[in-house]
């Protein structure tokens, strides 16, 4: 555990000197919190009026039940922002992990590191946690800013309750960290094959597609984000995490790193 802590401290000391990483971890989550708040603020007047029921997908109306249509509109709009809090833990660690691994490759610092008594499991865990922890904390901080800002931009009571519902908490506190692990391991695997952090980021960024799928499915009324769906997504991501950790651990063997990572 001491080695993992040491490695995490080193990773943070190094990657947080990179401006792109600092922007990705600090400014972007803040922007992601302020953007939906701004939209809610700008549409606040419209939301207070009774909207046209036909504007909402039937599945949404069914989910709203007896809630006033205006509130249901606001909840519908709010739900479009939920995937943001699943997307954030995806792209933040990709930026960190890409710079961390590719940086080690370009400076050829991996060999001295591998020559120490650190185990390959500790190395993988240290690298992964150094990327996952800031991503998850930044997402949670962003979510906190979002929650604090909701009443200030005129969110209705039902809308506030929606943001505080188990669905949102499951997405932010369960799916988010699992997505972060997936993103990190995938980024580490991609980084082992490329020599430019931006290329690693771009390739790893493909992971955002399934999350965007959720956004569009919700907009089209095919899906309503709820607790069972979140638990299903969490279970699916957890399985992928296990598989990726298995392959990632094989990729993180000393000999593979020294002889095949170019």
């Amino acid at each position: 555990m001491k080695h993992i802590r040491t490695l995490i401290a080193k990773e943070w000391a190094e990657v947080f000197k990179n401006r792109i990483v600092i922007f990705t971890v600090s400014a972007l989550p803040l922007l992601m919190a302020l953007l939906p708040l701004g939209i809610l603020l700008s549409t606040g007047g419209a939301m207070s009026m009774e909207g046209d029921v036909s504007d909402l997908p039937p599945s949404m109306l069914k989910a709203c039940g007896a809630i006033a249509v205006g509130d249901c509109f606001q909840i519908f709009l709010l739900n479009q922002f939920l995937p943001l809090f699943m997307m954030m833990p995806l792209f933040i660690p990709i930026a960190i992990a890409s710079y961390s691994i590719v940086g080690e490759k370009t400076t050829r610092s991996l060999e001295p590191l591998l020559a120490t008594p650190i185990t390959t499991e500790e190395l993988l865990a240290g690298k992964a946690l150094a990327a996952v922890i800031p991503a998850v904390l930044a997402t949670w901080a962003s979510f906190a800013v979002f929650l604090i800002g909701l009443p200030l931009v005129g969110a209705s009571g039902p809308a506030l309750l929606t943001a505080l519902s188990p669905t949102w908490f499951a997405a932010t506190f369960l799916v988010g960290p699992l997505v972060a692990v997936l993103a990190v391991i995938f980024a580490l695997m991609v980084s082992s094959r490329v020599n430019d952090p931006r290329t690693a980021e771009q390739i790893s960024g493909a992971l955002v597609v399934p999350v965007l799928g959720l956004v569009f499915a919700q907009l089209a009324g095919v899906l309503v984000l709820n607790v069972p769906l979140m638990l299903t997504v969490a279970a699916g991501v957890a399985v992928i995490d296990v598989v990726l950790v298995f392959f990632g651990a094989r990729l993180f063997q000393r000999e593979v790193i020294l002889t095949r990572w170019k």
Binding site: H3, T6, K10, A13, E14, S109, E111, P112, A115, P117
Partner: protein, 313 residues
């Protein structure tokens, strides 16, 4: 201290099914406190050998013990007990010199990391620059920092891969002096270098390696094996008849002229030289200087490497 038996390593080649043999059947013993020079051309398998001995990659065949720990069975113990200076310093450029060393002191579980870092930064003259990022260091300073990193955990065996490569003469000399100091402390040093003069000066024994071990011995013994012991008599004038006369003396293996110099191959110059000197004076020669002809390590190295290339062609 290092005991190697039949160590081999093969890698998959670029084409499917092809196998490249990087190290073939290496057997070698390096004693405690010895500076062993491991010489060979680029791509000879030197780095692969060092990586195997540092438990970074696994051998395909063979066994080795390093510091009494068996390769493959006690790899963590090997890593804990050896220090390695890799071909490139591999420093974290954004971190300070102190942070670079502190990281490794902690990964090696050094009891008092701060004290170890201070000691080696001081020893290598980097203490005043400890807060500067490693990326701002000159090549020589980076190499010194990498050497400090390899020593933090006080390893008894050190693997130094091209320690003076790319350094200016002053920095190279500093590193060489430091290696001599380390030998004085009884550490075993496995030195990989292309600098044959450096190997000649620093190493107790050398191994000439090109996928397999071509020769291993002290530089002096290798010279004797290849060239015998030769003495040069610098004369004011050389009469060809003198060459025949000297060549006919007992215990003189061979004599030949090289300009105005007489080159004589002897088994024991210490006892035969005075006889030759007396004989030359008797023949009327004016002797200006007498000295032992010392072939450079480069001559020895090239003889073995080229002979091997010729044999394989």
């Amino acid at each position: 201290m290092i005991d190697i038996h039949g160590l081999s390593k093969t890698f998959q080649g670029a084409t499917r099914g092809a196998v490249v043999e990087a190290v073939s059947d290496l057997s070698l013993t390096v004693a405690q406190g010895e500076v062993f020079g491991f010489l060979g051309p680029n791509g000879a398998g030197k780095t692969t050998t060092v990586r195997m001995l540092c438990a970074l990659i696994a051998p395909t065949r063979g066994t080795a013990t390093v510091n009494g720990h068996a390769l493959g069975r006690a790899d963590q113990a090997i890593r804990r007990s050896v220090g390695i200076l890799t071909e490139t310093p591999g420093l974290y450029d954004r971190l300070s010199a102190e942070a670079n060393l502190r990281l490794f002191a902690e990964l090696y579980d050094v009891a008092d990391p701060a004290a170890a870092v201070k000691r080696y930064l001081g020893l290598l003259g980097l203490w005043d620059r400890r807060q500067d990022p490693a990326g701002s260091f000159s090549k020589g300073m980076r190499q010194k920092l990498a050497i400090a990193r390899a020593l933090l955990h006080e390893p008894r065996v050190l693997f130094l891969d091209e320690p003076t490569s790319g350094l200016d003469p002053e920095a190279a000399r500093l590193v060489r002096d430091f290696i001599t100091e380390l030998r004085g402390e009884g550490r075993t040093i496995f030195l990989t270098t292309h600098n044959l003069d450096e190997a000649d000066r620093l190493c107790d024994r050398i191994g000439i390696f090109k996928t397999r071990l071509l020769a291993v011995d002290t530089p002096a013994a290798l010279r004797r094996t290849l060239f015998g012991r030769q003495v040069v008599f610098h004369l004011a004038r050389l009469d060809p008849a003198w060459v025949t006369a000297i060549g006919a003396l007992p215990r003189v293996q061979e004599a030949h002229a090289a300009g105005e110099k007489l080159v004589v191959r002897l088994e024991t110059p210490e006892t035969t030289n005075p006889i030759i000197v007396r004989e030359l004076i008797a023949l009327g020669a004016d002797i200006q200087f007498v000295g032992e002809l010392r072939h450079s390590l480069e001559d020895i190295y090239l003889r073995f490497v080229n002979h091997d290339a010729g044999g394989q062609a």
